[in-house]
């Protein structure tokens, strides 16, 4: 009964999304206030029904209703409650429902935080979001119905993939989807602006917080996914350039460019073409990612069970949405020309270079990801493109970006004196290289890669300090407190996010250059040494769980004679599918992680134990946290709320005037 209710609710949501798609757009075209006003209630109604539908599906999982096909394939009566709930999105159909619900949630957020937007503009935004919604819900209902029944039901489910029964999988997908899907708002704003023919600083100012928040979600989603892979997979890797990972990284790269481009459009009225194309591009890459994961076109550990028929449907959706957007762009691009002029040496130039570089980086990742498909389609053979390629290509492309990232903020808008700025920055640059070389030598790893990484990181940190000093020094004579308070949240946001990248680079460089690994055979009482740490094996015991059997090892971590802690890695076998899994044990520290995995037990009673030493790996996650925090500060800047209130007053005045 409940699954059928959920199914019905989803159909109602589809109807409402179609209403939301068509009526407000027609209303904006005809300037009919009544039609435009349909947008908000339609969007809110749609959200209610999708949420209801999602809860019904979750109910089927929680109740272990194995007459629902999806629950039978992805759950088990003994699965812990948390993983019954999150198992809903651990598969193609359920995750599509999550996608649709994320989109609906963003749409509702737009309806709530939009009093300051002109009616026609809001109507168009809701209309575009409605179109995308309708596309996704119809895709779900037609090809991937999560409420499909399995009759007669089975007695027991096949359990959720053990890899997904983990806290990381609880937060990673929702965050990631909120990010991916969040770029639809920037997209809808861009399309609405193209439709109305008005693409100005106000439009850019409205778009910025939405874009930044989506970016924060995506950053967090990717970082959590990476961290989860790190501790879950048992050998400490954290990024594999897998096609699905790339599919989330490309929107992030373009989204970053978009945020910066929007800033220029707001402040200087320039880069309008770039901003529109980046908004379309970021969301297109999100849609492309959806296609890649679900169509079977590429091989990936993350890919869902695939079906070319589904792939065709999504591809059609892609072609319609992106094709129509780019056609609209081509039609209106003439109006986007012009905008504030600027000289060769200016902040605009550095941001334009930033746009170009990030776009090239994103295109290169796309090239590497899709190249095997290109060659196969042209019958030119089958190749694989993996980490060696991406690392060789990505690092050289991002190096100028990082250099520019810290040089740009020194430049003035419109026109600046190159010599003066270079003179200001040159000592920092030289110091950075010196620190890079010095540190690499200090850790006994004087290689190009290490020197480059540490120099870039030093550049970021030193330049950040210099920027802060200069900013504080601007109010010469004022008290320290008032100087600090004069720095806007927006500026702190930029500062933190950029600093976060520097911290991130330190983490990546150090762990890439200095990590250590050792596999040993341990009997009770034996010890092994790695990187100055001693590991003492205290035996293994049974540690069965609700839906798995496990052996848990007990290993003391000793350094300089002091016991730092006890590590308890597990080797599990999940009963339903007989699948073995390893749960590594970590001793997390600010400057290093010590990571231990338990392998098999050998005939002589000894256990295979894998030991890893990962210096500075937490700095990777810390860098991402700083980036996210920076984004939050930037989006929360009071300027938006102040100006939104002013716009809202103007909008009310406009409506009153129109009614009179």
């Amino acid at each position: 009964m409940i699954p059928e209710l959920g199914h019905f609710a989803l159909i109602l949501a589809l109807v409402l999304s179609m209403v939301q798609a068509v009526v407000p757009l027609v209303g904006a075209q005809r300037n009919s206030a009544a039609l435009m006003a349909v947008g908000r209630p339609a969007a809110q109604g749609q959200f209610f029904f999708i949420l209801f539908s999602y809860v019904c599906l979750t109910w089927a999982f929680i109740q272990s209703d194995f007459s629902v096909q999806l629950a039978a394939s992805n759950s088990h009566s003994e699965t812990p409650l948390m993983y019954k709930i999150t198992g809903v999105w651990g598969n193609h159909e359920g995750s599509l429902l999550l996608w649709a619900m994320s989109l609906s949630l963003w749409t509702v957020a737009v309806t709530v935080f939009s009093r300051h937007l002109p009616d026609a503009f809001l109507a168009r935004v809701l209309g575009v979001l409605g179109l995308v919604s309708a596309g996704f819900i119809s895709f779900t209902l037609v090809t991937s119905n999560p409420f499909e029944r399995l009759l007669p039901g089975v007695a027991e489910g096949r359990d959720l993939n053990p890899l997904l029964q983990d806290p990381g999988m609880i937060i990673h997908p929702p965050l990631l989807y909120m990010g991916y899907v969040g770029f639809s708002v920037a997209f809808a704003f861009a399309i609405a602006a193209l439709l109305s023919g008005r693409l100005d600083a106000a439009w850019a100012r409205w778009s910025r917080p939405w874009t930044t928040v989506a970016w924060v979600f995506l950053t967090a989603g990717i970082a959590v996914g990476s961290g989860w892979a790190y501790y879950e997979l048992g050998w400490g890797g954290w990024w594999f350039w897998d096609p699905v990972e790339n599919a989330s990284f490309m929107p992030w790269l373009l989204g970053t460019a978009l945020m910066h481009s929007l800033a220029v459009t707001e402040k200087r009225g320039a880069f309008r073409s770039w901003t529109v194309l980046l908004a379309i591009g970021a969301f297109s890459l999100s849609l492309l990612g959806t296609f890649l994961v679900r169509s079977g076109v590429i091989t990936s550990v993350h890919a869902f069970a695939t079906d070319p028929k589904r792939g065709l449907y999504i591809l059609a959706l892609l072609v319609i949405v992106i094709g129509a957007s780019l056609l609209l762009y081509a039609a209106r691009a003439n109006k986007l020309m012009g905008g504030g002029s600027f000289s060769l040496v200016s902040r605009e130039t550095s941001l334009l270079a930033n746009n170009v570089l990030l776009t090239v980086a994103s295109a290169s990742v796309l090239l590497g990801t899709l190249y095997p498909l290109f060659l196969d389609a042209l019958n030119l053979g089958k190749i694989s493109v993996g980490p060696p390629y991406f690392e060789a290509v990505f690092v050289p492309l991002m190096t100028p970006v990082v250099v520019l990232m810290m040089f740009g903020p020194f430049l003035r808008w419109k026109d600046d004196d190159l010599l003066a700025e270079v003179r200001r920055v040159a000592p920092i640059f030289v110091a950075s290289v010196a620190i890079g070389v010095g540190s690499a030598w200090a850790v006994d790893h004087l290689t190009w890669r290490t020197v480059l990484g540490l120099s870039l990181a030093a550049w970021v940190v030193l330049a950040s300090l210099r920027l802060l000093a200069r900013r504080l020094g601007e109010r010469a004579g004022a008290a320290a407190g008032s100087r600090l308070r004069s720095i806007t949240a927006s500026w702190w946001g930029m500062w933190l996010a950029h600093l976060g990248i520097g911290i991130f680079i330190i983490g990546v460089t150090m762990v890439g250059s200095l990590d250590r690994h050792l596999d040993v055979r341990m009997k009770e009482g034996q010890r092994a040494e790695l990187a100055g740490y001693t590991f003492v094996f205290r035996g293994a015991v049974d540690a069965d769980g609700p839906n798995y059997d496990a052996a848990r090892g007990n290993i003391e971590l000793v350094r300089d004679g002091r016991v730092l802690g006890v590590l308890d890695p597990e080797k599990r076998v999940y009963r339903a599918q007989g699948m073995p899994m390893t749960e590594a044990a970590l001793d997390i520290g600010v400057f290093r992680d010590v990571y231990v995995s338990l392998g098999e037990q050998l005939e002589d009673g000894s256990w295979i134990v894998s030991l890893y030493y990962k210096p500075f790996i937490s700095w990777i996650w810390a860098g991402c946290v700083l980036m996210g925090l920076g984004g939050i500060f930037a989006a929360a800047d009071r300027r938006y709320r102040r100006l939104a209130a002013r716009d809202a007053a103007a909008a009310v005045g406009g409506r009153v005037g129109a009614a009179a």
């Binding site: 076109v297 591809l315 039609a331 095997p372 089958k382």
Partner: protein, 197 residues
């Protein structure tokens, strides 16, 4: 509308075209680089008479199939009845390559097992399976550790190689042989190679 503004749209349509075509491809299928190259020679113990060996070159002058199989391979059971019918109709000689019979079975651990013991177990299992399901092979040889499989670029079971009179690999079929692939690809090539003499 200036033409240059249509560039993003055109690029996108190009990409979409590739993606559409990609839906018809199978990214997991790996073509063999050994086509038209001499088949790797081997001399392995026979399944029916383990103290005797059989070498690839003994099939010189024949057009024949090398079928990679194992008793633990579920997909092999799909194609096996077809192989048996092919043998009854004497369509083309098939030599079996019994691949990692013992160590390839997930349920068995060979740690600490001597090679002789493993070979004896492989003989017993392989012979039992053929008795149960029928023996379509001219004979079967045993690739206990999978080395010969690697030489042939085997990455899954079952796989079938078509080898010509000079001992060159002419065609590789990945997965179970179906009546369609037999009629459509394998037998036509067999005829062609036989005519070439």
């Amino acid at each position: 509308m200036k033409a240059k503004f249509l560039v993003p749209l055109l690029l996108f349509f190009g990409l979409a075209g590739f993606l559409a075509f990609g839906l018809t491809l199978n990214p997991r299928e790996v073509p063999s680089p050994l086509i038209d190259k001499p088949a790797p020679n081997f001399r392995l113990a026979r399944l029916d008479q383990p103290d005797k060996t059989f070498a690839l070159e003994e099939m010189r002058g024949e057009v024949w199939l090398l079928n990679v199989w194992a008793s633990w391979c579920v997909a092999c059971r799909q194609e096996h009845p077809l192989l048996v019918r092919m043998a009854e109709q004497k369509l083309v000689p098939v030599v079996g390559l019994n691949y990692k019979e013992v160590r390839g079975d997930g349920a068995i651990s060979v740690r600490g097992m001597a090679l002789e013991a493993e070979t004896a177990m492989a003989v017993e299992r392989g012979q039992r399976w053929l008795k149960e399901h029928g023996d379509p092979y001219l004979l079967s040889v045993m690739d206990i550790d999978g080395r010969i499989g690697i030489d042939f670029g085997v990455y899954g079971v079952p796989e079938t190689f078509l080898i010509d009179r000079e001992g060159r690999i002419r065609y590789k079929h990945i997965g179970p042989i179906t009546p369609e692939s037999l009629q459509g690809q394998i037998m036509p090539k067999v005829e062609e190679l036989r005519r070439a003499g």
